[in-house]
Every structure is written in structure tokens, then in C-alpha cells.
Amino acid sequence: MLVADAALAVELSLDRLGEQADSALGGEELVAPCLLWSEVPSVLSEMAFRGEISRDLATQALERFLTGEIHVAERRHVELTMTAWRIASELGWAKTYDAEYLAMRGFSILASSRSTCACAAAPTGSGSWSRHPS
């Protein structure tokens, strides 16, 4: 499981080979916090506004992202926000955006170790992963 940040998601959405991301990354599942679904449209819109890409390309990339063609799955964790808050505080960051991705990476490592440990129970209930209801 790999955590995709906004830079990766925007680049995959724009790249003509973006749909092959999962195979290019060795079959790893790409996950992201719900923040990604706000950041990607905003970045694409600003790039088009500034003339760095055409409005048509920005729209195509956004549609690709929203329809799941680049294979990034949304994940939520009940402790994500507070963990990101603490990380930002400890690292002296004013904002928590980067910290959310770091926190999610920490949770994904924890989830992977639990799923590969025969004696550990599957993570359920409070503190477990959940897919965003679509």
C-alpha cells in the first residue's frame, strides 16, 4: 500500500500513461486521505488559470482522477486528523496538509504489519481503515 500525495495524483492524472500507474508501481495499491479530492481539482484549476496547461487538459485530467482511472482509493482513519495535527506541531509546520499524508503513511505501515502478522486480529472497529462511501 502506497500513499499518493497531490503531486503524484496530479501528475498521474495529466500523464498519458497515468492509467498504468498501478503496474508501474509494482502492483501496490495507491491510497490517499480525502484531502486529496480537494487538492487535485484546486491544483489543476490553478495550473489552467495560470496558463501552465490548457483548460481542456485540466478538465480531462480531473475527469480521469474522479472516475478512478488512475487507481487511487480514498481511505479514512478516525485518528488521522489528530495525528496530522501532532506531526505538524512537532515538525514546526504551520499547516497540516503534508502531515495528513505522513500520518496516513504511518497508518498504512501499521495496517500492513497487522495484516501480515498471523497472531494479530484483523483491524476492525475504532481506529481501523475505512473506504469512503461512494
Binding site: D5, A6, A7, V10, E11, L14, D15, R16, L17, A24, E39, S42, V43, E46, M47, E52, I53, S54, D56, L57, Q60, A61, R64, K95, Y97
Partner: protein, 89 residues
Amino acid sequence: MLRCCGAPASITISAMTTKERLHRLVDELSDREAENTLRLLDARHQGEQADAEAGETEMAALPHGWGETLTGEPMPNVAAAVRRSRATH
């Protein structure tokens, strides 16, 4: 004063300097237009400052075949765009 092309001190297009034209334009704006324009300029200025502070964002090399957009152009600097976007909201 009219200046010919290449005059270094200031850009003069007609009888007014660029700053004089800008002052005149600002005076003609309504309060709402002035507020919208100020917001736009402020956001752009903050973005440019963030660009300058971040410097050139280092990009890892992409595998062969990657780095071309859906419409065939080279991939723009997406990491810098994300950094700029976060700096201005």
C-alpha cells in the same frame, strides 16, 4: 513625456507611465471591482513569493515513456504547482 523603445527607466506607452495608467485605472474601479482585483493580485503575489522561497523544486527522473501529458506536451512542474497552491490558501 514620450520615450522611444528600449528606454530603461520606465515603460511609457503614451504620454503616461505604466504606473500612472495603473493609478488612473484604480481610480475608475468601483469598490467591489477594486476589492476583487486586490484579492486576485494578492493571491498571485503570494504565489510568486512562495515560488521564490521554494526555489526550483527538485523532480525525480521519470521512467522512459512517462512525462508527456494527455495532449502531448511535456509535463509541467507539478510539485511546484502543488507547493504554490498550498501557499496561497
